[in-house]
Symmetry: C2
Amino acid sequence: MSVSLYLISVPSFQKHLHALDGILDKAIAYAAAKKIAPETLLTARLYPDMFNFTRQVQESCKFAVGSVARLADMDAPNHADTETTFEALKERIAKTLAFLSTVTPEQMEGAEDRPLTIKVGPNEMTFTGRDYLLHFALPNFYFHCTTAYGILRHNGLEIGKRDFMRRT
Amino acid sequence: MSVSLYLISVPSFQKHLHALDGILDKAIAYAAAKKIAPETLLTARLYPDMFNFTRQVQESCKFAVGSVARLADMDAPNHADTETTFEALKERIAKTLAFLSTVTPEQMEGAEDRPLTIKVGPNEMTFTGRDYLLHFALPNFYFHCTTAYGILRHNGLEIGKRDFMRRT
């Protein structure tokens, strides 16, 4: 008994992208209630040389799309990073979820030991599909989802672990 | 071809606990160089009702130990949350890594479909071992590692994604 790459990736990405979508709804309501310009939250960051909130959401989407496409040996849809509103970020998440829903477990069969080479900055890194998912894509995805959450928490949005985990 | 619960859990926890240990070394050097009282960083948090840095590290260790013990059907070692220095947090991580190194893949065999019930606040949650790892333990572990990183970044420590990912 063991677990397929599909089960490790797609449902995890779906769950936390839905969670992020719910957090965006709360951010929209918070900005309206407190008369905070949405741009203030969208461009907030934890330190001047870190990515801002908008980019954290975009990176979460990119790691989900890019890793699933690589593991399923498909072309990734090209989603440009043009979002400047909460609503556009919700659309980006919806496009990401729509792509994930088209991928089947069968498309990832055999990817565990297939070598994958990716560019990270100026370097190339080669992994097996399994190590790429477990030690690159998944921690990066959670890193950006968590940092998006942390930026809004730091800016006073009343959300909790329950929102991050999307427990109902 | 697929992936065992052991490979999804133990090497991921080991990698990111080693990364956290390296970040603690940089925090010690930073506090000394900038004459920042270590307590200032150890008790830093992103918002008043969030866990502070020390607790984020403790939670990272607890999710690693607790989940691996549950999946391997072992008693978890009882590591009390008494750390008040960077050095003590490094010892906590060392104890956590020492426990993880005692667990074998064989001990987790068959855990995928075994039901697990855990307490979350006042509630009980029941998962299969697979869902518990993928949709509870792993995202919580990465949540606390990332937030520990984010707190130190927010306080000016010069670390980057490379430190979080422990790329060498």
